[in-house]
Amino acid sequence: MPLITYREAIRHALAEELTRDPNVVVMGEEVAQFNGAYKVTEGLLEKFGPKRIVDTPISEAGFIGLGLGASMLGIRPVMELMFWSFYSVAFDQVLNNAANVRYMSGGQINCPIVIRGPANGGTNVGATHSHTPENVLASHPGVKVVVPSTAYDAKGLLKSAIRDNDPVMFLENTILYGDKGEVPAEEYLIPLGLADVKRAGTDLTIVTYGRPVILSLAAAEVLQKEHNLSVEIVDLRSIRPLDIDTVLASVRKTHRVLVVEEQKPFCGVGAQLTYMIQHEAFDDLDGPIARLCTIDAPAIYSPPVEAEQLPNARRIIEAALATVAGSQ
């Protein structure tokens, strides 16, 4: 299978869907002539022209709202946020309008829009540019939320998101854009709401998504080699819909759970997961469910310290060992 980057995988998904459906439009700041702030959309303008690949002014409330209005009338816009952090200035459009229009119209209106862009810390850009709003988004019924960790997943999930008739929030990661992975040349789709066991194990389940999947895989190698601990890693891939069944199946196998997330702890995705796991698999647990989150403060700039604020392989190893020790 060809090895391509996460960035290329997203680009290929866009190109395939632009080719397949003339109503798909890619829109955002710098997506066309500049080739994308993170080069995700590189070459698309040349291939599809300015009607399909549209540069917008710096006007998130305006253009996200515009995309949404267009989606009500049959267009399938894929909107790029240069950073998901900028959703705050379009909050009303994303979470009052996209999330609620179908409901308030009694199901008469659909909003098949995708809003995508990177949502991560770890790049030393300070608190304004490091938000991870998947929990905020997922707490709004009406929208779907997807956070891919690999090139393969990013492509298959984005294609499904574009074909979805509900609004889908697609959260990427600038640190992963350059990561390579095997992606088949032939077309494939990955359904939203299907988790993926990225590593099989017997002693501990790590439930995670996004870049912490990659970090957890590295940590699992060390835990196996140095501590003889067999870790199973469940990558949620999609936050809403949520594949809790795959999580529970893993818990029933290992009986110990650590949730790893690049989220602040308060009302993070892990808080919901923890509740669901204890509620539905209480008797299968050998100990309390543990959570490893971003340290609870705005994102710090200082580069070496930011690396410690986020989940990293060392912190995951420590948390995994503590989880296992605590449940013996």
Binding site: L73, I75, D92, N97, S105, I109
Partner: protein
Amino acid sequence: MKDEASAPSADHRQAPINAALDRGQKLGLYRTMVRIRRFEERSLRAYQAKKIGGFLHLYIGQEAVAAGCCSLMGKNDHVITAYRDHGHAIAVGMELPPLMAELYGKVTGCSKGKGGSMHFFDPARNYWGGHGIVGGQIPLGTGLAYALKYRGLKGAVMAFMGDGAVNQGAVHEAYNLAALWELPIVFVIENNGYSMGTSQQRSSAGELAKRAEGYDMPWGQCNGHDVYEVRATMDKFLTLARERSRPSTVEIDTYRYRGHSVADPDNTYRTKGEIEEYRRTKDPLQVFQTALRAEGVLDDALTESIDAEARAESDHAADFAEASPFPTVADIQQDVYWETDNPAERKSQGRLFFN
């Protein structure tokens, strides 16, 4: 650039778009205005009888704006507005029973009891709501215009807002996008002089419609109590949108008789005399009735029967609403996702609801 062709001196009845109206169409226009008023008066009584929850923003006094604008709609013309949305809904042709039922929170309501007074929708009639956040609907309307242009359809969007909404950032972002991309839209400011209890003077610097100049958009102003004037003015700007895909802003002066909503006792920011003066000299129903009588279109008997029919229709709508069932608790989780409402076509897996 201000468009001066609709100066107050012009005889709007002679404008081609009005001269072309036959007797039946004129009566239809009048009937729409009367139906809006009687519907809302009936809804106010229902509110006072505690049949309706939440807010109720009445349009009474502004009827000629929605009736005039929406009477110009063709197949590919679309409307979106704010929460003071009953008049536009009736003007695009929605039936009164589902509107009243929506106010009553009944499952037979136009939004199945899920939207309420502020959130009427009827996409089949090109009516896209009904939006509760001041100014939030304006980018959506701009997107409707984007879709028209993208799909090569010859039509125009009318995106309505109040005078208070013009101070929202989202409105200005939409102005810029519409002008930059030459989208077929008319931004309609229904200037009733107040945003809640704050007069235009106390909220807004400069002339409202003139802000369009900053975006190189043509703009106009007109009186909203004369339905002929509304039509004559809007026709020009709608034609500009449909024929040349040029956006514009039109400010229509109007007035609301009732408080901002039923929660407004209406005793802090204006005088009763001000309301009475408007009612006496500019009531849109009265103004049009007088004009139609002078034209020989209306007489006492017909005026009386149109009014009686509108009252009966409103009473019937209230009876329908009263007799209809409420949605069930199970209905709460319907209409959230297209996919869960269409399970046979669902592609995703996993849980979409968490209780």
